[in-house]
Symmetry: C3
Subunit: 132 residues, 3 copies
């Protein structure tokens, strides 16, 4: 089963917690044991798993990225968003999750985040749920 | 089949070769062709595949991380381990492996490593084996 | 079904678009809905998804890596390619793709790249296609 989420981002750099929507997609599929493969079809956005309790963790990750790949740096790509392409590759755009007991297997503090690096934009996230 | 490993780390930053344990889990499952999905349910640890012949490779990776995300840096997250959260996202916590001939498909020099960035701690690694 | 591609790289750092070859492997398998798991069995190469319209994007990614992990830096690993091992771990060597309609699910601007960081070398890429 393939579910597509529509996401409207509001800022150039923004982390959006998708955990609950992924949980819903898995429940909707009726799959009890298997895998969810999450995919972002963009080249200036990404996916990551990290702490969803304290928003400062995601703030610090964004600050880190701004430090190692500053937006205004001297890149060759003319669209002015090379930093966003770099961050997309560093985190990755496909994320496989174990499904057990009809739920994604995640640690207590783990959430799945959509990472916008060149917003605001209209974005999509695909979730393929397979198993039995 | 889902197998959970318990790992006790000894240092703040430590790389532990899991290859043999993943190999054992696959053998135990009886799966000959399929996939092993490895998942670390923590937000200050990670998984990576890299050379397991010369331990200096993993040493250099840790030094690199210390240089680009120093532990004592000025982060907003109050627990003092933002650098560990950043490293976790950079390497990732889920890792899918091809199984063929009842073994994980890995190159001659490839090993699968559990990466501790905020130890010492009691940690877990989940391995889901699927296929036929 | 497992397909292995042979790749001959020409430079130390080089990005090679594999998208069409992955598309062909999926067509060859006859799988309509499922997953392709791509794996690079090397520790100084990697896989990434990013823009394949403007080659400057991949140029900028390579420049970024040269800046944060310079080749001639003071590493402990004696083979002089620690920077390549670091880049391999940052991007990763396994990449799962959703297959739908007999095609890999990719965004308009997304391509799958083999990333050479210690060439020129003879390399391999494994593609496992599963589903129905």
């Amino acid at each position: 089963m393939l579910i597509t989420l529509d996401i409207l981002t509001q800022r150039r750099s923004q982390m959006i917690d998708l955990t609950e929507k992924i949980r819903q997609a898995i429940r909707q599929s009726g799959i009890f044991t298997g895998q969810a493969l999450v995919h972002v079809p963009h080249t200036t956005a990404a996916l990551t798993i990290n702490e969803n309790a304290d928003p400062d963790v995601m703030h610090d990750l964004q600050e880190f990225f701004t430090r190692i790949a500053p937006p205004g740096d001297t890149y060759r790509h003319r669209e002015g968003n090379s930093d966003a392409h770099i961050k997309s590759s560093l985190l990755g755009v496909t994320l496989p999750l174990i499904i057990t007991g009809g739920e994604p297997l995640l640690g207590t503090w783990q959430g799945v985040f959509f990472c916008e690096f060149d917003g605001p934009r209209q974005r999509q996230v695909h979730i393929q749920v397979s198993g039995s």
